[in-house]
C-alpha cells in the first residue's frame, strides 16, 4: 500500500487536497438545485474520507517527526506562510473528522428541510476548517482555521437549530471568540518577541519552538491567553456553560460535529501549542494544581449535573464535560500512558458521543421531544435502536472491551504516578458515569411503555443503520485492538513529552515481566 501511494505522489498533494476539496465542492453545490445539495455533499465528504484513509499508511509508527511538511510563503513580509504537516496526533484527528463528516451528512438527510444548499455548503466549509486546524504548522494559519470553524457552526446552530437557537448560537460564537482574540494578541506578541531576539520574523511553529528562550517573563501571560482560548473550547469548568446550550439547540449534525471534533480542537491546542510553548509555566506547581483541580471538577461535576438533566441532549453535553476532564488530567499528568490515554479518549469520545447524538437525533426526528420522561419501555418497540444505544452508552461508561475503557484506563493509570490523590477522586467518576448513563438508558428504553405515542415508533431505517454501524464497529474494534492507533500516536506523544519534560534516558520496551513462565505460545 505504501508503495502504491508513493508511486502516485500521494504525500505531495494529499494535505492540500483535503483542505481544498470541500471548498471546490461548494461551487457545484450552490449552483445546483436544493434537493441535490445533500447528494453533492455526501459525494464530496465520502471522497474526502476515502482520500484521507491513505494517510494511515503515510504516518507509520516508525516515523518520529512531522510528515508531509509543505511550506508556501503567503504574506512574506510578515513572515506568514501556508505551512502544513501531519504527525500521529494530527492523523487521528483528521481521520476522525473525515469519518464523522459523511455520517453527519447522512444523518441530516431528512432532518434539514429548508435551505439545504446553504446548510451543506456550510458543512463543507466547516470540513475545510476542521482539517486545516489540525494540520496547520504556521501560527497565523492555525488562527485563521480556528476562526473559520466558528462561522459555519454559528449559522448551522442559528438557522437550523431548536427553539432557543439564537441565544445558543450567539453565546457560542462570542464566548469562543473572546478566547481566541486573546490568543491572537498572544500570538502576535510571541512572534514579535522572538523577532526582537533572533531578528527573524516568522509565524512558523518550528521557529517558535526553537526560540522559546526569548520569551522571558512574558511567558506566564502568553500561556494564560493561549490556555484561556483552549479552555473555553475544551471546555473546562467554569468556561463550559456555552456547551449545553449549543449542543441542545444545534441540529443533529451540528451536535455531532461540535462534540465529536470541535471540542478536540481545544485539547489539541493544549497538546500542540499551549504546553510545548511554555513548558515551565504550564508544568509549574501552581498551574498544574489549578489545571488538575479544574479537570477533577469537570469530571465529577459534569457527571453529577448530567445525572439530573431532564433533556437527553443536555445530559450528553454534560457528559462531554466529564469525559474531557479526563483528557485534561491525562495531558497534565505528563506520562506516556496518560497522554496516550488522553488522545484515545479524544478519539473514542468522538465515536461514542457522536453516536449518542445521532441516536438522540433519530429519536427526535420521530417524536420531536428530547425529554427523557416522554419515553420509556421503547426497547420492546425498537429493539435494534435500543441495542445500539446500549452498546454506545456502555462504551461511554468505559466498559472494558469497548473503546471508552482504553482511554480512561490509560489516563488513570498514567496519572496515578503523578497525582495519586487526584486520580483516586477521578476514578470515582466511573461510578457516576455508570449512574447517569444507565439511569437515563433505563428511563428511555426499559420500564413500562406508558406513553401510547411510543407504541408506533419505527425502528432504524437502512440509512440510519448505515450511519450508526460504522461507528459501532469502530467502538468495538478500538476497544479490542487499539494497538495500531496507539503505535501511530506514540512518536508524536514522545516528542510532546520531550518538549515538556526533557528526559535523559531513552524509554524501555518491556514485554511480559521476568516471571517463571513455562511456555509462551502465540
Amino acid at each position: 500500500m505504501t508503495s502504491l501511494l508513493e508511486s502516485i505522489g500521494y504525500g505531495q498533494w494529499i494535505l492540500h487536497l483535503l483542505v481544498l476539496l470541500p471548498l471546490l465542492g461548494v461551487v457545484p453545490l450552490l449552483l445546483g438545485a436544493e434537493r441535490n445539495a445533500k447528494w453533492v455533499a455526501l459525494v464530496v465528504t465520502t471522497a474526502e474520507f476515502l482520500l484521507s484513509a491513505g494517510l494511515w499508511w503515510v504516518v507509520t509508527p516508525q516515523q518520529t517527526g512531522m510528515q508531509l511538511i509543505s511550506d508556501t510563503p503567503w504574506i512574506a513580509s510578515w513572515g506568514i506562510s501556508y505551512r502544513v504537516g501531519i504527525d500521529g496526533i494530527s492523523l487521528v484527528m483528521v481521520l476522525l473528522t473525515t469519518v464523522l463528516m459523511p455520517l453527519s451528512v447522512l444523518a441530516s438527510w431528512h432532518y434539514i428541510t429548508t435551505k439545504e444548499r446553504a446548510f451543506y455548503a456550510l458543512m463543507l466549509t466547516l470540513l475545510t476548517g476542521l482539517v486545516g486546524v489540525f494540520i496547520a504548522l504556521d501560527l497565523f494559519l492555525f488562527y485563521v482555521f480556528f476562526e473559520v470553524v466558528l462561522i459555519p457552526m454559528y449559522f448551522i446552530i442559528g438557522i437550523w437549530g431548536g427553539a432557543n437557537r439564537l441565544y445558543a448560537a450567539i453565546k457560542f460564537f462570542i464566548y469562543t471568540l473572546v478566547g481566541s482574540l486573546l490568543m491572537l494578541v498572544a500570538i502576535v506578541v510571541l512572534v514579535w518577541k522572538i523577532q526582537s531576539a533572533t531578528g527573524e520574523l516568522s509565524f512558523s511553529y518550528q521557529h517558535v519552538l526553537d526560540n522559546l528562550g526569548a520569551l522571558g517573563n512574558t511567558a506566564p501571560w502568553l500561556f494564560t491567553a493561549f490556555a484561556l482560548a483552549f479552555a473555553i473550547k475544551v471546555p473546562i469548568f467554569p468556561f463550559h456553560t456555552w456547551l449545553p446550550d449549543a449542543h441542545v439547540e444545534a441540529p443533529t449534525a451540528g451536535s455531532v460535529l461540535l462534540a465529536g471534533i470541535m471540542l478536540k480542537i481545544g485539547t489539541y491546542g493544549f497538546l500542540r501549542f499551549a504546553v510545548p510553548f511554555f513548558p515551565q509555566v504550564a508544568m509549574s506547581t501552581e498551574v498544574s494544581a489549578i489545571m488538575v483541580t479544574l479537570a477533577l471538577i469537570g469530571i465529577i461535576y459534569g457527571a453529577l449535573v448530567a445525572m439530573v438533566q431532564p433533556d437527553i441532549k443536555k445530559l450528553v453535553a454534560y457528559s462531554s464535560v466529564s469525559h474531557l476532564g479526563f483528557v485534561m488530567l491525562g495531558i497534565w499528568a505528563g506520562t506516556m500512558q496518560s497522554v496516550q490515554g488522553a488522545l484515545m479518549i479524544m478519539i473514542s469520545h468522538g465515536f461514542s458521543t457522536g453516536a449518542l447524538f445521532l441516536l438522540v437525533g433519530m429519536l427526535y426526528e420521530r417524536r420531536h421531544t428530547r425529554l427523557i420522561e416522554d419515553y420509556g419501555g421503547i426497547a420492546r418497540v425498537v429493539p435494534v435502536f435500543s441495542l445500539i444505544l446500549t452498546v454506545v452508552a456502555l462504551s461511554s461508561i468505559g466498559l472494558p472491551g469497548l473503546n471508552g475503557f482504553i482511554g480512561e484506563f490509560l489516563v488513570l493509570l498514567g496519572s496515578f504516578t503523578a497525582y495519586p490523590w487526584a486520580t483516586g477522586i477521578a476514578t470515582t467518576g466511573v461510578i457516576f458515569a455508570a449512574a447517569y448513563l444507565l439511569w437515563a438508558l433505563q428511563r428511555l428504553i426499559f420500564n413500562r411503555l406508558d406513553n401510547p405515542e411510543n407504541e408506533h415508533l419505527s425502528d432504524l431505517s437502512g440509512r440510519e443503520l448505515a450511519v450508526l454501524v460504522p461507528l459501532v464497529i469502530g467502538i468495538v474494534w478500538l476497544g479490542l485492538y487499539p494497538a495500531p492507533v496507539l503505535q501511530r500516536m506514540e512518536p508524536a506523544t514522545r516528542r510532546y513529552l520531550e518538549a515538556v519534560r526533557p528526559r535523559s534516558a531513552p524509554p524501555e520496551n518491556l514485554r511480559v515481566g521476568a516471571g517463571p513462565v513455562a511456555e509462551v505460545r502465540p
Binding site: Q442, L510, V512
Partner: protein, 655 residues
Amino acid sequence: MTNLVWLTVALPLAGFLVNGTLALRRPQAKSLVSAVGVGVLLAAFAVALGIFVELWRNPPHAPIIVTLWSWLPVERLQVDLAFQVDQLSTVMLLVVTGVGSLIHLFSVGYMGEDPGYARYFAYLNLFIAFMLLLVLGSSFPVMFIGWEGVGLCSYLLIGFWFSEKANADAGLKAFIMNRIGDFGFLMAMFFIWRAFGNLNLVDVTSRAPQVLQPGGAIVTAITLFLFLGCTGKSAQIPLYTWLPDAMAGPTPVSALIHAATMVTAGVYLVARTNVLFAMAPVSSSVVAGIGALTALFAATIGLRQYDIKRVLAYSTVSQLGYMFLGVGTGAYVSGIFHLVTHAFFKALLFLGSGSVIYAMHHAYHATHSHEDAQDMRNMGGLKQYLPATFWLMLIATLAISGIPPFSGFFSKDEILAAAFARGREQPLYYAYYAMGILAALLTAFYMARLIAMTFLGSNRTGEKERAHLHEAPAVMTGPLVVLGVLSLAGGVLNLPAFVGGGAALERWLDPVVSPAERFFKLEMPHGQAELFLVGAAVAIGLLGLLAGFRSTLARPIPPARQAGADTGLARLLYRKYYVDELYDALIVRPIVWLSRIVLWKGVDQGVVDGAAVNGSARLSQGLGWLGSRLQTGQVGVYVVLFLVGALWVLSAVVR
C-alpha cells in the same frame, strides 16, 4: 489442547452473536437457539476437560500463557490479550463450563415459553464468555474485562423482563454497586502498576516478595482495594444489597450468576493473588472478618424471608462470607473447595426452586390466580407433587448444613477449622470462628425451614391449583440429578486425612498457593482437636436442622394473602435491617439533591451561567445603555456637548 484455551471464550462469544442475531431477526427459532446456546457450552466444557487432562498428566511448574494479540502497548505498559492456564484456572474453568452447561440445559425447559428465549441465551452465552475471560486472564486488565463484563451481563439478565420497573431498577442497582467495587479494583491496579511497572499476574505474584514490604502500607492498600472490588462483585458487606434484588431475574440466572459463578469471582481473585494477601495480615484479617460478619448477618436475614429465592439469595451471601473467611484465614484451598461445592449445591437449590416456581406458575396460570408463585407461604406439601425435586433439594440442604458425607460438610468444616487454628496466633480469629459456627447453625435452621415450608406439611396452594402441580420435564430434572450427585459426592475432591483421603484438591492447587505459605503457614489442627471441631460442626448442623423442621412444622402457616404482617424482631429481619432504606437516605438522595439543587440550579445555572456569563452580557448591555444616554435626540443637548467638546479641544491646543 492448552493452546486452544481461547476456544472456551470464543465459543460462547460466537453463541452470543448467533443467538443475538436470531433474537433480532428470528426469535421463534427456538430449537436452533437451544442447540447453539447449549452446544457451545458443552463444547467449551469438552475443551476444559481436555485442558484438565493435559495438565493432570504433565503438571506445569509455572502457569502456561497463551497470547492472542498485543492489546495495550504503551511504552513500558505492555498488556497482551492472553490467557493463563494453571491449576487454579482449570478448576474455575471446569466449574464454570460444567455447572454452566447444566444450567443452560435447565433453561431450555424453564424459559421454553418465554418470548425472549433467544435474547436470554444470547446474554447467557455472553456471560460465560466474560466469566471465562475473568478466570483465564493472564493480567489484571484482561481479568478486568471479564470482571466488568459479567457485571454487564448480570445487569442485562436481572433486568431481563425489563417492562417491570422493579426489574430494571434491580439491574441498575447491581451494576452501580458493582461499579463501586470496580473502583477498588482499578485503584489496586494503579498501585500495582506504580510498584511493579507491570500488570501481569505471573509477574506480580512472583516478584511481590522483592518489590513490596510484607505488612507494609502499599501491599495493604493494594489488597484492601482489591477486596473492595470483591465486596462489590461477591456481595459482601457493605455492597451486598444488590444480590437479593437480583432475584428479579429468571431463576436459572440466579443459579448461574448469583450462586455458582459471577459472585465467586471475588473469592477467585483473592485466591489468585494469595501471596499479596498473605503479605498483608491486616487485609487478610479484614477479609476474614467481613466474610464471617456477612455470613452471620445474611443468615439472620434469611431466617425471616418468605420468598423462596430470597432465602437462597441471602444464603448465597452468607456462604460467600464463608469462602472469604476461608481465604482470609490463609486457607485458600478451602475457600476454593467451598466455592466448588457451593456451586454444586447452591445451583441445585436454585434450580430446584426453579422447578417449584415453574410448577406453581403453571398452577396459578391455569386457574388465572394472581398469587405469588414464589412465596413459600403459598406452598407446602409439595413433596407428593414434585418428589424428585424434593429429594434432590433435601440432598442440597444436607450439604449446605454441613452434614457428612455430603460435600458441604468437608468444605465448610475445613474453613471453620482453619479459622480456629489461626486463632492461636491471632485471637481475633476465634471471634470469626464463633460467628462462623453461629452462622452454620442459622444456615441449617433456615434451610430446614425452607424445605419444611415448601415440601412438608399440608398444601396451601389451593384446591383448584393442586391439580396442576406436577414435576418438571426431564430436561429440567436431568441437570438437577447431576447436581445432586455432585452435591452428595463432591467431598471426594478434597477428603481430609482423618477419613483416609488424599486431599486431592489441596495437592492439585499447591503450586498456586505455595508462594503465600512463605508468609503464613496455617497449622491445621490434628488428632483430637480436629475431631472435636468436626464433631462440633456436625452437631451444630444437626441441631439447626432439627430446630428448623420442628419450629416450622409446629404450627400451621397461613397462605400469603391471609398472613398478617410481622412485628418486632421478625419484622426487622424481614425488612433486612432496613439497610436499603438507610443507603437510600444517606447516600442516594443526598447525592441527587446535591446534583440537582446545588450543582445544577445553584452553581451552573445560578453562578456560572447566571452571574458570570449572562452577567457579563448584561454588563456590556448596561454599558451600552449608559452610552446611549448621550443620544437623546435633542438638538439642545447636542449643542451643549458640542460646546463642551470645542472648549476642551481649544484648551488642549492653546496650552
